[in-house]
């Protein structure tokens, strides 16, 4: 399987031989072989649930493999816990950062790697080390800033610094660009290339084909717990990788007919919102969402999209002051004093941005989650009790329509992969045939097969004459799905574009809060000018 060129100067940085790991009857990793050459960026790509995270957790000592061998620099090693992994030179940057929010950057960097009982020597040593790393790898962060005040991109740098401070030679990054703006992602890639050129080995776990093609030297593809291919990136193509991941041919573009927009379904006028802490989150939003169109809201996370969705969905943050007017199908819709249940009855479906915290109750079974939010629907009641057989039958049907796997409605939501969890939420909201669908980050952490499926469903809903409000931080997704694009920045709509006219650079400017025309020709803007202020600041 390993078709990589042999490294001339000895053993690969990491070699896995026949790694297997089972959780109960689920075989998460099956006889994985992997060779990562020293001084390369190695991509690992695969759908959610393909076993990437399990494999990396084995490398970092969170799980012990049932069988198989790990070699670091040619030497067999047993990784019993993360301390062993760190000593072996492995550093990990998780998707969800593991930083203490109210500590400074410096304190976070030394946390767990203090030299002695007194902090001061460690701190001053770390300060010098940080300075060196910053200049060497473009990893500038203010060492005395509190982590909670940093943008997501900077927090990620702190995670990388932590690993480097612990003398990591092998850096593993799990979905590192999921939370970054295009500009921040570009910066991250520059850092990673710099690290590689210094001889570090980097493993990049992602489901984004574009990133794989852009930055990796080699790429390994996982599918259903197996390593199905390892290839040199320059010798492959996104289409080939996508096919390897999914095991069949995939459409990377969404095929859709031109929109046939009708009358406005939702009219938003002068929507303002000041949250309980007194921060103005929405500064006068005007939007029309028409029947039969997808309005895409682009923007970096934290610019008011979440607040907009919550207000439209009927559950704004407690204590917030909200002004403005909403009209649904011409009828005034109360801004507050209503709840999410009333919104659903009015014909608004909502796929929330965070399925694990809002869209699903993770401990509930799939069938209970299919009723979640619609649990007071008359067809689910039988006298005083809930009609479990009706709900189960409904869930079974939705699970079949949406090809949720495994097709077992008794399984708890937490036991489904991210993509299948999202399918459950989308099935629940779309199959109710709402007049307006609010959908936030529909494919965050969702694998390619499921993305294709969910995108098709959104388009189908649009073609059925329904209105869709799509909020996504993935510009590709907005470009592919939206019939109109509105860019949000700092609680405002910076501008609207048609996808066929919009360029990434143009949208990038709007996302960064730069009015078009204030800077001369847009194409001349270097990516570094697209620096975006800290999230939530």
């Amino acid at each position: 399987m390993t078709a990589q060129p042999e490294v001339p100067d000895g053993a690969p940085a990491i070699e896995l031989r026949g790694i297997s790991k089972a959780f109960g009857p689920v075989q998460a990793n099956k006889g994985i072989d992997l060779r990562v050459s020293r001084g390369t960026i190695h991509g690992i790509i695969g759908e959610n649930g393909a076993g990437k995270s399990t494999l990396m957790s084995i490398l970092y000592g969170f799980y012990r493999p049932d069988s198989g061998e790990i070699l670091i620099g040619g030497n067999p090693i047993t990784i019993t816990d993360s301390q062993t992994a760190i000593r072996a030179g492995i550093g990990m940057v998780f998707q969800h950062f593991k930083l203490v929010q109210n500590f400074t950057v410096l304190e976070n960097v030394i946390l767990g790697a203090e030299d002695g009982r007194l902090l001061r020597p460690s701190l001053s040593r770390a300060r010098g080390e940080l300075k060196r790393l910053a200049s060497e790898y473009e990893l500038q962060v203010d060492p005395d800033a509190l982590v909670e005040d940093l943008s997501v991109g900077h927090q990620q740098r702190v995670e990388i610094l932590k690993a480097l401070y612990r003398q990591a030679d092998i850096l593993i990054l799990d979905e590192p660009t999921g939370v970054l703006t295009p500009a921040e992602a570009d910066h991250l890639f520059r850092i990673l290339r710099g690290l590689r050129d210094e001889g570090k080995t980097i493993i990049l776990i992602t489901h984004k084909l574009r990133e794989i093609m852009e930055i990796t030297d080699n790429v390994s593809v996982m599918r259903r717990g197996e390593m199905v291919a390892s290839v040199t990136t320059s010798e492959t193509s996104p289409t080939q990788l996508a096919e390897l991941m999914v095991g069949r041919k995939v459409l990377l573009r969404v095929e859709k007919a031109p929109a046939q927009p009708g009358a406005p379904v939702l009219e938003v006028r002068g929507l303002r919102m000041v949250d309980a802490a007194g921060v103005e989150r929405l500064r006068g939003i005007d939007l029309d969402i028409r029947a039969g169109e997808v309005l895409g809201i682009a923007g970096v996370a934290g610019n008011g999209q979440t607040q907009l969705l919550e207000i439209l969905g009927g559950y704004p943050e407690a204590g917030a002051k909200i002004e403005g007017a909403l009209r649904l199908k011409g009828q005034p819709l109360p801004l507050t004093g209503s709840d999410a249940g009333a919104r659903r009855k009015a014909g608004i479906g909502h796929v929330p941005e965070d399925r694990q915290v809002e869209g699903l109750i993770m401990d509930f079974s799939a069938w209970e989650n299919v009723a979640f939010g619609y649990h007071d629907a008359p067809e689910f009641q039988s006298g005083w009790l809930m009609d479990q057989s009706a709900i189960r039958a409904d869930a079974q049907a939705k699970i079949e329509h949406f090809d949720v796997r495994p097709p077992n409605p008794e399984l708890a939501a937490k036991n489904f992969s991210g993509g299948n969890q999202q399918k459950i939420v989308v099935a629940r909201e779309v199959e109710r045939n709402p007049d307006l669908l609010l959908i936030g980050q529909p494919t965050r952490g969702v694998d390619i097969g499921a993305i294709e499926f969910i995108h098709k469903r959104i388009i189908a809903l649009r073609d059925a004459g329904k209105a869709v409000l799509l909020v996504s931080v993935e510009l590709d997704e907005i470009m592919a799905l939206a019939d109109r694009i509105a860019v949000m920045f700092d609680g405002r709509i910076m501008g609207e574009r048609l996808p066929e006219e919009a360029t990434t650079a143009d949208l990038g400017c709007l996302m960064a809060g730069i009015e078009p025309g204030t800077i001369a020709p847009q194409d001349a803007i270097p990516p570094a000018a697209l620096h975006v202020p800290a999230e939530g600041a």
Binding site: A22, F23, G24, P25, V26, D66, G313, G314, Y315, D339, A340, G341, A342, R343, R344, H350, P352, D354, V357, E358, G359, L360, I361, M362, D363, F364, E368, A371, F372, G373, H375, D376, Q381, W384, L385, M386, Q388, N415
Partner: protein
């Protein structure tokens, strides 16, 4: 996937915890120079060896079922109600007021009225902490424990100054009228021509407690309200998204919880003492926490755990009576059981999970 089979989770884990608790208790008994085997024999015989023992065991278990269910309902809403003690005490006041105010002709009429009084007073006592939690964010653990003290002081005042019959020196209410006395289980057995549990306090409330188990199970797992309570207990954000009002669920769950705790009074006040005395609850409100923990917050688990604690209570009493094991040691044994089955649950569970994983791997 589940880490181990359900039977191991539900039965094996608590049994091993229990065995550990008893093993350490045995060591303590050895250390004070008594025979643990002898002690166990006295406890088992005293609590389970005769219908007399069973009569007491079931009486105590009835108390613990009510308070255990109270903790369970609140737990499912993500609320830790440790105010069962105060709510049960107030329930007693409700029972006493209902029974003293009306000349009830028959217990079958008095019981439903007393139940309403008990549930209402218990629920109202839980309402204030619930409202403070829902509206003001005051932590329910703090407020409910405070309300235990307030209830004790209030009852003291009411008994001494208001309910104490003129001329009595005892801080207790007048005895309830004869027709309100609940049938004892021993009377009911006699009705079937059986001699069972003579002179024991177990009474018809036991069946009310069993019915309560069933109703709570239905509530939590079969009704829309239960669905909302569980959803809210798992994720407040999720509840908001689904249109479930946190304020409403917090208040309703605590009202039900308080009502259940209050209902205990039909057993101890109406069924046993037949008047309201000071400190009638005798710690059953706190035992309810251990019962709910050990019963995995499932009504049937609560029933089994309540029986176990009933056994410990009655057996412990016998132990103090018939051996030179001091009464305080009973508290030690009970504490160890609570410690192992409740607080140290994961100590047993995790190694057990590992064993099952290893077994499965070998089998696979």
């Amino acid at each position: 996937m589940d880490r181990m089979p359900k039977w191991a989770d539900v039965i094996l884990t608590p049994l091993i915890s229990l065995a550990l608790a008893f093993a350490i208790s045995a060591l303590v008994i050895l250390a004070i120079g008594e025979s643990p085997i002898e002690a166990l024999k006295v406890m088992v015989e005293g609590a389970l060896g005769s219908s007399y023992g069973w009569g007491f065991t079931l009486y105590y278990a009835t108390n613990f079922i009510f308070t255990g269910l109270a903790v369970t309902v609140a737990y499912h809403a993500g609320l830790f109600n440790i105010g069962g003690e105060g709510q049960a005490a107030m329930g007693g006041l409700g029972v006493a007021l209902v029974l003293l105010a009306v000349p009830w002709p028959h217990w079958a009429l008095a019981l439903p009225a007393a139940m309403i009084g008990a549930a209402l007073f218990g629920a109202l006592w839980a309402l204030i902490p619930a409202w403070l939690q829902a509206r003001r964010g005051s932590h329910i653990v703090i407020t409910t424990i405070m309300f235990n003290f307030i209830a004790a002081a209030l009852l003291n005042y009411v008994l001494v100054n208001l309910l104490r019959p003129v001329g009595s020196m005892d801080p207790a209410s007048a005895s309830f009228a004869e027709p309100t006395h609940l049938p004892k289980l021993s009377d009911m057995a006699l009705g079937f021509g059986m001699e069972w549990g003579k002179n024991t306090p177990a009474n018809v409330s036991f069946f009310v407690a069993l019915a309560a188990c069933l109703l709570v199970w239905l509530l939590i797992w079969r009704t829309k309200l239960g669905f909302e309570i569980r959803a809210f207990g798992k994720s407040e954000r999720g509840a908001l998204y689904a249109g479930i009002s946190p304020v409403r669920i917090t208040v309703i769950a605590m009202l039900i919880s308080g009502a259940l705790a209050g209902l205990m009074a039909i057993n101890n006040v109406m069924g046993e003492a037949e008047r309201l005395v000071l400190n009638a609850v005798e710690g059953a409100g706190f035992i309810g926490i251990a019962v709910a923990l050990m019963g995995r917050n499932h009504p049937f688990g609560v029933l089994l755990a309540a029986l176990l604690f009933g056994f410990l209570y009655q057996g412990g009493g016998e132990l103090a009576l018939w051996t030179s094991v001091p009464r305080e040691l009973i508290v030690v044994i009970q504490a160890l059981v609570i410690l192992f089955t409740g607080a140290l649950d994961n100590m047993v569970r995790m190694p057990l999970e590992r064993i099952f994983m290893a077994l499965r791997r070998k089998g696979a």
